[in-house]
């Protein structure tokens, strides 16, 4: 019982720390990166929710894009407020996912994987080609105004004379991430969530016990798409634009990487994966062209040597740490004292 209370307090401290970050991180570049992390983590969580049922969706980038487009349209054409449009973006994406899922969740495995990608491509091409007057063609929807929210008598604008209010965007993204984490956590901890994991192991067995497998998969898929849509909506405000480039296959691969590298075993996996890969992605900007090589290599290495993802790494206990220190010091004393041609195995 004590451990549980301790864990909750620790989590709350983390939460407070996370929300206080904009106060002491003044470099807007990094604040922006953390905002991107929050958006990526939401996408990763949505995808993770779908993947734990045993279905891999390769088209989540499309739902993110649709969320962005819907939110942008509701904002620009209908003049609706921030929270309404974000919610609308999510709902539209969720409904689209519901329709797609209804047609296709009868097939499983590789067929569903390819179908989900096919659907994403269709959506992408459509967004580029139809209603260019409001959808903007290949350029997408531009000049999305920075929103303003009113809390009581306080008018918070997401833009100031010096530029977009990065802190506000950060808080918005983080708040949505926290809500997403709670949502996904509740689902996976519930009976419904356990049934989902059962379905992943044997859908026939689940069905024989009275579980409506199709409906479970459909609902989960729609929720995952909803989350992706909300993330897309936030991003569309953050970038003040949305384009069909968001629906490129590379982004779907990125999303899968966050989930896989982080590990599928628990809810922390996609979050860690999104964090590590987003940060590494930014750090590697310096290396520019070599970035995909590093990302690709990371993916390969994780798959070959750590298939459970980063989350499956066990934090070393004190005695193990001591052991590692001992070995390291022995190795160092060898190389500094001995001749380089004399390689001995340290035991």
């Amino acid at each position: 019982m004590q451990i549980k209370v301790f864990k909750v307090i620790a989590l709350l401290c983390c939460l407070v720390f996370v929300f206080l970050i904009p106060l002491f991180v003044t470099q807007l570049y990094w604040l922006h990166t953390f905002t991107m992390f929050a958006i990526h983590a939401m996408l990763a969580l949505g995808l993770w929710l779908i993947v734990i049922t045993g279905q891999v969706s390769f088209g989540q980038a499309a739902y993110m894009g649709i969320g962005g487009y819907a939110s942008a349209l509701f904002c620009k054409e209908l003049g609706l407020g921030l929270f309404t449009t974000i919610l609308a973006g999510g709902v539209v994406a969720g409904l689209l996912g519901l329709s797609f899922g209804y047609l296709t969740l009868r097939v499983r495995g590789a067929y569903f994987f390819v179908l989900s990608f096919a659907f994403a491509e269709i959506v992408k091409v459509l967004m580029r080609s139809i209603r260019k007057d409001i959808l903007g063609g290949p350029n997408g929807i531009l000049d999305i105004p920075h929103p303003t929210i009113t809390i009581g008598a306080l008018n918070l604008s997401f833009v100031s004379e010096t530029g977009p209010n990065t802190s506000l965007y950060y808080w918005l993204a983080m708040a949505c991430l926290v809500i997403t984490i709670l949502l996904v956590w509740f689902i996976t901890r519930s009976r419904f969530g356990r049934e989902l994991r059962g379905i992943a192991q044997s859908d026939d067995l689940a069905e024989s016990l009275g579980i409506n497998v199709f409906r479970h998969l459909l609902v989960t898929f729609a929720i995952g798409c909803f989350i992706a849509g909300v993330a897309g909506a936030i991003q569309s405000y953050n970038f003040t634009m949305v384009t069909s480039d968001w629906m490129e296959v590379g982004h779907s691969i990125d999303q899968l990487s966050w989930v896989i590298v982080g590990g599928m075993g628990s809810i922390g996996g996609p979050i860690i994966g999104a964090f590590i890969l987003t940060i590494i992605g930014e750090l590697l900007r310096a290396v520019g062209a070599y970035e995909p090589i590093f990302s690709g290599a990371t993916l390969v290495m994780i798959m070959l040597f750590l298939p459970g993802g980063l989350i499956s790494l066990r934090v070393p206990k004190f005695s193990t740490l001591l052991g590692i220190f001992k070995r390291l010091s022995r190795a160092i004393s060898f190389t500094s004292g001995g001749s380089s041609g004399n390689r001995k195995q340290s035991s």
């Binding site: 009976r191 356990r194 192991q201 044997s202 026939d204 069905e207 024989s208 016990l209 009275g210 579980i211």
Partner: protein
């Protein structure tokens, strides 16, 4: 015309797999409270018949009537909710879950009606009955084979079926485990659950079942008391025609 209608009635059941008649015009019925054995050599159509009744396959023709309702066209989970629970030969359990969690999942149909305390009590009763209590927190994958199959039956019972359909529950078990299983199944049956059991090795079940149906090449070739079926010439031929089988 009977005064008491049967629990399950199958009429004119046909399943045609693009030319291959897996089930060829089969009729049978089960009365409430019976312990019925479904036997036959490999490829006779037993599992196909199971899949047809439980909704995992759609019949080409025929009627399946359970408690007065036609099951044809219903999805498996709907049929399960009506009271028919079946087991599988492969995938008997959720390997990545513990035994307790497996049983908890199996309460899907009943969970909403009970509160969590009742659920826990019920699960413990089941564990006791199937002698799995000491394995409660072990992962399904870690269970010895015989216990895995026991768990499969326990999970089916957790759903409190009216008709329990078992697909070769004795496969791969040693003689002692077979006896334990049969004893348990008899007890379950005497407590009121109707049981339909596919079994390959007929000798083990001859004393426990009340009636045997024999399928061969998709057709029903015998239906009656164990003692009569065993002496049936056609049944003997069906089994002896395949060298590796024997009926008793």
């Amino acid at each position: 015309m009977g005064i008491v209608s049967n629990l399950l009635e199958v009429k004119g059941l046909v399943k045609n797999f693009g030319g291959l008649m897996a089930v060829d015009n089969v009729d049978f019925y089960i009365e409430e409270g019976e312990f019925l054995g479904l036997v036959g050599p490999n490829g006779a159509g037993k599992t196909t018949a199971f899949n047809l009744v439980s909704g995992f396959l759609r019949p080409t023709e025929g009627k399946i009537i359970f408690n007065g309702r036609n099951l044809v066209g219903l999805k498996p989970h709907k049929i399960a909710s009506m009271g028919i629970i079946r087991t599988f030969q492969a995938s008997t359990l959720f390997g990545n879950f513990t035994v307790g969690e497996n049983l908890d999942l199996s309460l899907h149909l009943k969970a909403r009606q009970k509160n969590s305390e009742d659920n826990s009590l019920f699960i413990n009763e089941l564990l006791d009955f199937f002698q799995l209590s000491m394995w409660k927190d072990s992962l399904g994958y870690d269970l010895p084979y015989g216990h895995q199959r026991m768990l499969g039956v326990a999970m089916a019972m957790a759903a409190e079926p009216k008709l329990l359909m078992l697909d070769e529950p004795l496969t791969g078990m040693d003689p002692k485990e077979c006896m334990d299983m049969i004893r348990l199944l008899s007890t379950i049956n005497k407590q009121g659950t109707t049981v339909l059991m596919i079994e390959h090795h007929v000798s083990e079940i001859l004393e426990s079942v009340g009636r045997i149906i024999v399928l061969s090449n998709g057709k029903k070739i015998a239906d009656g008391l164990p003692k009569d079926v065993v002496q049936n010439k056609e049944v003997e031929e069906a089994y002896l025609g395949r060298e590796e089988e024997s009926i008793a």
